[in-house]
């Protein structure tokens, strides 16, 4: 009976049911997870450090003198503190949300539990909602940690409640959006980091939208002559809304009146709901495919291993050429050899056309420095991720026993893998070298930029390759290997001040900014050579070679390591 059926369906969809068993499971898992403890600790640490910094810089350590001056300083400190905490939350939590949800579905697929879920009465929408709510609970916790702080700071006065409320609402709506996007992506993409990258890319695009808006509407952001375009576009980018909201706190940033944050939050939540519904539909399909065999098509067909399948099926047998490990990993990393050069060519062309359209750009050192920094960052990150992946797949597919009983020794395996990984980013480096040479030749860049590229790119590659391969060999799954490599790379580059000196991205950017035509420039060159080139050659080469060597030693030691005993498990 149709009527009866729809009633039953409705009953099963009841909102309370919607978050039933999956939320429960997620919460129970999450509370035990080591990374969650780490995340909470890190969060509190970052908040404390930035608070301390603000406090000492505004109020100072001097003798406590009562008086109007001191009160005003405290109010100022209070305002800055609140702004800082809100900003940190606003920028960090959506990223955390994207990362937390990035393996939500691919994890179940990897474990083969998706088909099992299909046989239970749990509906796919319940799974999606459960994952989203279950994992975002952590964010609620993180915000809750900071709320008492905000309340205390408010005592010093000068902070309107409206700002805090708006900030928290914006943070949550953006986090939910990033989370649903990441979740949706994880129903197509086989690897967690791919979903996280998709979600983060969308956030970056929204940020770019804000930047473009800021360029197009110079002066105070929300001037009375606010165009309609501006108002409409603002609805889409949380960053624009956040900046406007900042105006309520700090008049220098703009006027906060009429900030459409309520409309923006509602819109974002509506979009998130649509994303979740889509995710539920695709999830259902993924489950069916998982249960009855076949392959996930759609975007996975373009990105993941399924692409290779289809691609492999199209062609006849390929003959092996060159060293065998190099050949195999190249097939794995780059099933379409033309794709990378083509992408780099398109991006480069776009960049030059855009730079040509906006005249001063190519004459500005800063533009070149930014470009070089981005290329180096992307290239090195890709190298680290590929290295981690190329090594961890061997374990994931349980191929070490057969590989290590061939005549290949560990050194050959590591070298050939490294070569396959390095060739994947080759087009990027060719672009960078060509770009630098040309602009150094026409005297826009100082020749020291070439030195920077020549020193930092190879040493950075060595370091990131070593890190990636080492963690790829220690971790039990590709996802874990990539996550650990990321954590270590970020930690090395941005947390340790010593390592920042040896940071290849910073090094390349600096080398692009130096102008050796005057005395100060020449002094800068000298300092650069002493401060950066030296430490980099020592630290990066030493660390990189050390990690590669360790990777080589690890291979045999951890062939049969069980998670928890020898290898790094959860």
């Amino acid at each position: 009976m149709p009527h009866h059926d729809s009633w039953r369906t409705w009953q099963r969809c009841h909102p309370i049911d919607l978050f039933g068993p999956i939320v429960d499971k997620e919460l129970r898992i999450a509370s035990r997870h080591k990374t969650h403890y780490a995340l909470r600790t890190l969060y509190v640490a970052v908040l404390t450090v930035s608070l301390a910094g603000v406090w000492f810089s505004t109020v100072g350590l001097g003798p406590v003198t009562a008086g109007a001056h001191q009160v005003a300083a405290m109010a100022r400190a209070g305002r800055t503190t609140v702004f800082l905490i809100t900003a940190i939350q606003f920028f960090a939590l959506p990223v955390v949300a994207a990362v937390l949800l990035s393996n939500s579905i691919s994890e179940e697929i990897e474990r083969g539990t998706l088909a099992v879920l299909l046989t239970t009465p749990i509906r796919s929408l319940q799974i999606v909602a459960g994952k989203l709510v279950g994992r975002l609970m952590l964010l609620v916790l993180l915000v809750a940690i900071s709320l008492p702080l905000l309340a205390i700071v408010r005592v010093f006065g000068g902070v309107p409640w409206g700002f805090i409320v708006t900030g928290v609402c914006l943070t949550f709506s953006t986090a939910v959006f990033a989370g649903s996007l990441s979740l949706l992506a994880s129903t197509w993409l086989p690897r967690a980091h791919q979903s996280a990258v998709v979600a983060l890319a969308v956030l970056v695009l929204l940020g770019l939208l804000t930047a473009v808006q800021a360029r197009l509407a110079p002066g105070p952001i929300a001037s009375p002559g606010l165009s309609h375009l501006w108002a409409t576009a603002a609805l889409f980018s949380p960053y624009t809304v956040f900046l406007q909201n900042g105006g309520t706190l700090n008049p220098g940033l703009g006027t906060g009146s009429g900030a459409p944050w309520v409309a923006h939050c509602l819109l974002t939540l509506a979009v998130s709901i649509v994303l979740c519904l889509l995710a539920a539909v695709w999830l259902r399909r993924a489950m069916l495919v998982e249960a009855f065999g076949g392959r996930r098509r759609f975007l996975a067909g373009w990105f993941g291993r399924n692409a290779r399948h289809r691609f492999v099926e199209q062609r006849d047998v390929r003959r092996l050429r060159g060293p065998c490990m190099f050949w195999k990993d190249t097939q794995h990393i780059r099933p379409r050899p033309w794709l990378e050069p083509a992408m780099v060519a398109v991006v480069a062309a776009t960049f030059y056309v855009a730079a040509w359209l906006v005249p001063p750009s190519l004459a500005s050192r800063h533009v070149h420095a930014a470009l070089a920094g981005i290329i180096v960052f992307v290239g090195l990150m890709r190298t680290a991720v590929l290295a981690a992946g190329a090594c961890a797949t061997e374990r994931e597919k349980r191929c070490w026993p057969v590989l290590l009983t061939t005549l290949l020794d560990e050194r050959q395996i590591v070298r050939q893998k490294a070569l396959a990984i390095l060739t994947a980013t080759l087009p990027l480096w060719i672009w960078l070298v060509l770009h630098t040479s040309v602009f150094a030749a026409i005297d826009v860049l100082d020749p020291v930029a070439l030195v920077g590229v020549a020193v930092f790119v190879p040493t950075g590659l060595l370091l990131f390759l070593g890190l990636g391969m080492y963690f790829g060999l220690r971790a039990t799954t590709v996802t874990r290997a990539v996550a650990m490599t990321f954590a270590v790379v970020v930690g090395l580059c941005f947390v340790l001040p010593m390592a920042a000196v040896a940071n290849p991205v910073v090094g390349v950017i600096l080398s692009f900014l130096i102008d050796g035509r005057d005395v100060y420039g020449r002094l800068g060159q000298l300092l650069f050579m002493l401060m950066f080139v030296g430490p980099v050659l020592v630290v990066d080469v030493f660390l990189g070679a050390g990690f590669l060597w360790q990777a080589e030693c690890q291979i045999r030691r951890h062939v049969f390591a069980r998670s928890g005993s020898d290898g790094i498990g959860d």
Partner: protein, 308 residues
């Protein structure tokens, strides 16, 4: 061909292998049998140069496994209990990859790969993706890979587990063929009857210790000592037990659900004397049937004493 002397492996406190002494002759098939967790895989991994033994020595073809790893690898084909496959390679590519990993020259590779494909009857699957193969096919591909460098010794860890009966028979045929080619094969299983037809020698391992080693006949003789007769009588079975225990050549008598089981020495015709004795004691014989011990039961009897 393969010898181990007091081979031991400890995982922390856990003794996975204790003083194992094996001796496997050239050109024979050695069945290595034991329940799960007995230490079969551990032994094979040591022989395949993947694990370092804690103590002891293993020698293959006169080469020390620990010291001459590379030379040993040249002579040994090892098929692990769980074969990893690369999902982005096809059958031919997969085999050519391993051919190259064994330093086989490029121009010889094609013929060699075609050769092993023919031997394992996989020619039709040359262009199939490796992970699209059925379990039976994958095991055959595993065998093809093991054969690619023409090793003298094959170490196969549970190659027949998870296969359907037909695929098992195919694997068995393949192993016979390989034996004819003069290879020494060490094969493990937790089911004795699976190997009974093809093995020349059997070693039974239990909790890391070798509890029996010898030919199939020897194992039959050793357990066959306890040939068994099942008797059903009218009246008091306890009385029958007393009567039968007194007979010569009878080793043990016990009651088993409704029957009286008589274990007697190998090679004596005992049924006549059983019937006579029972009738003389005033008990009517309802049934008297011999029970040859199955190899699997024998295996259970051999290993049970150690488990408990």
């Amino acid at each position: 061909m393969i010898e181990t002397h007091k081979l031991s492996k400890y995982y922390g406190d856990l003794a996975a292998l204790v003083d194992l002494d094996l001796h496997i002759d050239e050109g024979t098939i050695f069945g290595f049998i034991g329940p799960n967790g007995a230490g079969k895989t551990t032994t094979m991994r040591i022989l395949a140069t993947l694990l370092e033994p804690t103590r002891g020595r293993a020698v293959i073809d006169g080469l020390d496994v620990r010291l001459q790893g590379k030379e040993v690898r040249r002579r040994v084909g090892y098929m692990p209990d769980f074969m990893g496959v690369y999902d982005d390679l096809k059958v031919f590519e997969y085999l050519e990859f391993f051919a190259a990993a064994f330093n086989i020259e490029r121009r010889k590779r094609k013929d060699i790969v075609e050769g092993v494909l023919e031997l394992t009857d996989l020619q039709g699957k040359r262009a199939a993706a490796v992970d699209s193969l059925s379990r039976g096919m994958q095991q055959r591909l595993g065998l093809a890979r093991v054969l690619i460098h023409d090793p003298k010794v094959l170490i196969l860890d549970e190659p027949a587990s998870g296969l359907d009966p037909r695929a098992r028979i195919e694997i068995r045929e393949l192993l016979r063929e390989l034996k004819r080619m003069g290879k020494t094969i060490m094969i493990s299983s937790h089911i004795l009857s699976e190997l009974e037809e093809i093995c020349d020698h059997i070693g039974i391992i239990e909790q890391g210790r070798l509890v029996f080693s010898g030919t199939l006949d020897e194992i039959r003789r050793r357990i066959g000592i306890q040939n068994k007769m099942r008797v059903r009588v009218t009246g008091d079975p306890q009385r029958a037990v007393e009567v039968l225990t007194a007979l010569p050549n009878v080793r043990e008598v016990r009651r088993e659900d409704g029957y009286v089981a008589v274990m007697y020495a190998e090679g004596c015709e005992i049924d006549g004397s059983i019937a006579r004795a029972l009738v003389q004691a005033g008990l009517d014989v309802l049934a008297l049937e011999p029970e040859q011990l199955k190899l699997d039961n024998a295996f259970l009897e051999l290993t049970q004493g150690i488990v408990h």
